[in-house]
Symmetry: C2
Subunit: 189 residues, 2 copies
């Protein structure tokens, strides 16, 4: 298993070699090419993903065929359609590669097995889930209060590397603005 996962976990909880062997046994590794789908809307979602390298987009396509980006995920991020993964309903969103991407995959059964077998992983996952809730509360706040310009500036401040890696049409979709509005923001008008 890639050492990156161990480093990632050990930022929160220290692990013995045996514990990391156990954790590793709960994951499988997979590689995808740019444009590949990890899952599509309407499918079952078998895995939650840890991104080793590359870039993913979590996408909802509305009745008019318009694509909305709910989230990006890059190195060291966890991503899935959480409702579909945790409650085993069909996906309402799709997860697609924006670059060639390597992920570690865990099933719900292995997620539960890992938590039951190692209390410190439950602690680690609680810390990550709480951090996810903080980020979500901030994003909800930004939709309620901020102009497109402010949302754009917040995104650049929080995730400066995204600007280099994500095409402008995708940034616009994430921010909930048109491509034309985003172009005006780029020019600083």
């Amino acid at each position: 298993m890639v050492p990156q996962l161990r480093e990632h976990i050990e930022r929160i909880v220290p692990l013995t070699d045996d514990e990391f062997v156990f954790i590793s046994s709960c994951f499988t590794s997979a590689r995808y090419r740019k444009h590949d789908f990890l899952f599509r809307e309407g499918e079952k979602v078998a895995h939650c993903y840890f991104v080793v390298s590359g870039l993913l987009k979590l996408v909802y396509t509305d009745d008019n065929g318009m694509e909305h980006i709910v989230a990006f995920a890059m190195e060291d991020w966890w991503e899935s359609d959480f409702q579909a993964f945790f409650t085993q309903v069909r996906a309402t969103m799709s997860l697609q590669c924006m670059e060639d991407t390597e992920v570690l995959c865990i099933t719900l059964a292995d997620y539960q097995h890992m938590c039951a077998g190692l209390a410190k992983m439950e602690h680690f996952l609680l810390m990550k889930a709480n951090a996810g809730n903080i980020a979500a509360q901030q994003r909800i706040l930004s939709f309620l209060t901020s102009s497109a310009k402010q949302r754009y500036e917040q995104l650049l401040k929080r995730y400066p590397t995204l600007l280099q890696r994500v095409p402008k049409t995708h940034l616009a979709s994430y921010l909930g603005v048109s491509r034309e509005t985003l172009s005006r923001l780029y020019r600083g008008n």
Copy 2:
């Protein structure tokens, strides 16, 4: 300690009497009157709250003095400014009573003490945090994809009792629409 907390936890994990005595020792109880603040923007956030009875609103006030409702919280819900609570920065939001409200309060130190002392509470809190992430992902999605009318209908479907308890100005603020737009939705136009 109120039996309601035990019932709430036991929907996910069974508890012995001794375990519930330990859990209860981590909380204090408090009662507030309608319009009281549990904390205000700019203050330290000492507690995460479990609502026993009543109704709270988590509010952000922008530079123009306009109030935006990030979340409501009623019986059996957990609420706080999660960034302020978990990372001990000052609150960017305020938590205020919309009705007379009884809450159970836990400090960050007691939250950590409770998790370290009882692994099944860490499991319970992880399940709640994951459910919170599902709800947040759905709310982000609704801002990206839905019209005000659809957001209103989703809210009523998910939390039908809110309509009876929350004044229309507050519903409008939660949905990110004007009071006039909401009135049109009520009339079905």
